[in-house]
Amino acid sequence: MPKGKDTALISWKEVPFGCYILEPGNSVGFKTGDWRSFRPVLDKEKCVKCGQCYIMCPDMTYTQDEEGYYIADLTYCKGCGICASVCPKGAITMVVEEV
């Protein structure tokens, strides 16, 4: 068993006074992508750039690239499959994540 200090996210010596969190939205440092067992894969041929996937993603993973396609940031994608299920063109397929 590793000792507590090896596994803790933050040691008590670094805890800010009053346990303040000093940076708004710093959960971006917590990568939820490793929860995923399926990964959304986009077929650009079918995509009409409607943005349904972007707005329906509970993990705010989608951003638009220069060409206007919505691309999922796999750092946070939990692989829920909502984007694939709401896409009106069937442009997103969920594929098993290979380790």
């Binding site: 959960s27 509970p58 692989g79 909502i82």
Partner: protein, 313 residues
């Protein structure tokens, strides 16, 4: 149409706000419909808000130390008092403006979030008091139909027949034995200027209602249906499908109550059978045909009642 809405053109798929007041890296389950509802509501409100949340899933998943998903000022309070704290924040803002310590014309919206447990059960009196006092704030109930944060106990908003850990089906029980408490009607009974129901499946409708609620002078209440794969025994990918089905079967009708008058915002003329909605969820798996008929009859009657309210008032 209220005068406060005169300048609001409404959101459309083309002019969605870019800001995300709620950050990724939160720990909601895969496919959580409640965090999606929260995200969309905050997106509609923008960055000039002070948010208050009652304890519940959304607090737990957004703030395990040393992280926070909130990019806007946020107060986490107890299970029962989101509306009371929001009242205090709103009163303080007014006092600061009166004393000249905060720009009078600067708009800051105060929004309280609570789950269905925090709203329909333990927080009901705090909510009622705040609505009665007429504070200028928005109260948003994120309704996933049980106490999910503590492991799926029934609440006043759990629908009839649903299995939870405290309404287990068996020989002598069909699951939840009471009908869903109609909290939007309770809010409307306070005579507040704005009440609405919404679901993430119709995201523009949701965002427009939340924005209208914020623009209204005085208290506004928005009740948002929020699918919970973990508590309902559903697939994460089905959250939006279910949220749509809930509306299309008339189980969760979308409407507004503007200064006491009911308006149905999405009329369902050819409803799907409730069975289509129920059969996709483990929490309803045990229901017999007879029970499903009973639910269908209730849904029909409730929708009739709503239609009459929308026509007569």
């Amino acid at each position: 149409m209220l005068k406060e809405w005169a300048k609001f053109k409404g959101f459309s798929a083309k002019n969605l706000p870019k800001e995300e007041p709620f950050a990724p890296g939160h720990r909601a389950c895969q496919g959580c419909g409640e965090v999606l509802a929260l995200r969309l509501a905050l997106k509609a409100l923008g960055m000039n808000v002070i948010a208050i949340s009652a304890t519940g899933c959304m607090e737990i998943i957004s703030s395990p130390f040393p992280y926070t998903s909130w990019r806007v000022p946020w107060l986490h309070v107890a299970f029962e008092n989101a509306a009371a704290v929001a009242s205090g924040v709103e009163a303080a803002l007014r006092a600061l403006k009166r004393k000249g310590r905060f720009p009078r014309n600067r708009r800051v919206d105060v929004v309280a979030f609570a789950g269905d447990g925090g709203t329909a059960d333990i927080g009901l009196q705090a909510l009622s008091g705040a609505l009665e006092r007429g504070h200028d704030f928005v109260y948003i109930c994120l309704d996933n139909e049980a106490y999910m944060n503590t492991g799926v106990q029934r609440s006043g908003c759990t629908p009839y027949g649903a299995m939870t850990t405290t309404s287990p089906p068996g020989k002598k029980s069909i699951g939840q034995m009471t009908w869903k408490k109609n909290v939007p009607a309770i809010a409307a009974a306070h005579g507040i200027p704005y009440v609405a129901t919404a679901t993430p499946a119709f995201f523009l409708d949701l965002m427009n209602k939340v924005k209208k609620a914020a623009l209204v002078e005085g208290p506004a209440y928005v009740h948002i249906y929020s699918p919970c794969p973990t508590g309902w025994g559903t697939k994460g990918e089905d959250s939006i499908t279910l949220a749509k089905l809930a509306v299309e079967t008339r189980i969760f009708p979308l409407y507004e109550v503007i200064e006491g008058k009911y308006y149905i915002t999405r009329k369902i003329t050819k409803p799907k059978p409730v069975e289509e909605y129920l059969k996709r969820q483990r929490r309803f798996r045990h229901l017999t045909e007879e029970e499903i008929r009973k639910i269908q009859a209730r849904v029909d009657a409730e929708y009739e009642r709503l239609l009459r309210l929308a026509e007569c008032l």
